[in-house]
């Protein structure tokens, strides 16, 4: 077992997944917190779906979409991009699973920003994007950072969707969570236990940071 390789790959993939979902997540959280439009509840529900669906089901959906015979996979194959059983699949699965957690936390952060600050900025002539960048974003920053850390932590723990769409290829797509499963089912308990300790330590650190940064945690900022 290459502990360092598995750990560093998992951290890098989780980081990539977090960066990938961040722009979409910020937009969705903002729209859901402030937008007034038809279908808002529908959008909210759709975004949250991966949070409550069995992760394996999410993985299967992704596999059906991204397999070389699937609608998206066929398009990507035409331009020479493979997803299934590659590291891209790991990042994709992590990003999809982290998104709802991020959106829910970030949205609460945006909702706590007092509307009158945004209104004042708007009356002073700032267009909506400028209100967002200079008022809402900085004021919601602690929540957004907490949401990002939470999404990152969720990515590290992602298993169900990953095993379906990325598999468990040693030295390639095998993440901490998948490696624990693979080692446990092949009878390599010692390796599994070491990886359990590593992932527990990472999860502990991530949750600690996320909680300490969340508004109302009582930690002085």
């Amino acid at each position: 077992m290459n502990l360092w390789q598995i750990t560093s790959f998992t951290l890098m993939a989780a980081l990539a997944a977090t960066l990938l979902m961040l722009p979409f997540g910020l937009l969705l959280a903002w729209v859901l917190a402030r937008g007034q439009f038809r279908g808002r509840v529908l959008l909210d529900t759709l975004v949250s779906l991966p949070l409550v669906m069995p992760p394996v089901a999410t993985g299967l959906l992704l596999l059906m979409l991204f397999a070389p015979r699937g609608p998206i996979g066929a398009l990507l194959a035409r331009v020479g991009i493979e997803v299934v059983f590659t590291r891209k699949a790991v990042v994709l699965a992590m990003a999809i699973m982290a998104l709802p957690l991020f959106v829910r936390t970030a949205r609460a952060g945006f909702e706590q920003v007092e509307r009158r600050y945004e209104a004042v900025a708007a009356t002073l002539g700032a267009p909506p994007w400028r209100v967002f960048l200079t008022v809402s974003l900085p004021l919601a920053a602690p929540s957004l950072i907490a949401a990002t850390v939470l999404g990152f932590a969720r990515s590290i723990g992602e298993f169900g969707a990953t095993i379906v769409i990325a598999g468990s290829i040693p030295g390639s797509t095998r993440t901490l969570a998948v490696a624990i499963y693979s080692f446990a089912e092949t009878g390599n308990d010692r390796a599994a236990v070491v990886l359990v300790a590593v992932s527990a330590a990472i999860a502990f650190a991530a949750l600690w940071i996320s909680t300490a940064l969340a508004p109302g945690s009582g930690v002085r900022r």
Partner: protein, 245 residues
Amino acid sequence: MLAAFLLLAGLLQGSASPVTVSAAVSLTEALEDVAAAYRAAGGPQVAFNFAGSNVLARQIVNGAPVDVFISADEAQMEVVARAGLIAGGTRADVAGNTLVLVADARTSIRTLADLGNAEVRRIAIGDPAAVPAGAYARTYLEDIGLWQRLEPKIVPTTNVRAALTAVQNGSASAAFVYATDARVAPALKVVATIAGARAPRIVYPACVVRTSRQPAAAAAFVNFLRGSVAAAILARHGFAPPAAR
């Protein structure tokens, strides 16, 4: 409140407890037919738990309440044997099988050596560290001197059926599976059948698990598996009779 409790109790308890059989996933269709025939012959209900034999062996060693174990190789049966969990005198081979190489119907693969070609990107096999079909495949590829060249292309899967699925949805170019699995996927092409002196000897040993709460019913099912009715069903699904030792 009481109704809810009774409902919950009913869900958890089930009715008359069936014989629980943990069996190698490659046996899925055949054993479901065997169980139906067993019922028709007046036998009790049989509940199956299908997975890779290594997963099943681990579950049993960790105390899963299983009555009968049917493995796809000796190695995983040995895992249960070493834990002292085989009921004395109940171990018996119930079927045999053959390893084949399957690929998409439009494949350019004609022989095993073609697996080294550049257009063959991924080869799916059960995780060779423990999944029987993968272990058989790896041992054979090592014997014929192809393993080192093919290893970078190997995608290990959690069981043999997952390897089959990977070829079906186009994620892998080819897979080593059992001849019986290939029959379940008629859209795929059997490129090669592994035969000859170096071919793995594939047997399915069965046993009654020592901790079974209904050892008599469990032994009865194992006996039924070794009988002529089950043999005919297994043969119809493409399984070979267990080879003589």
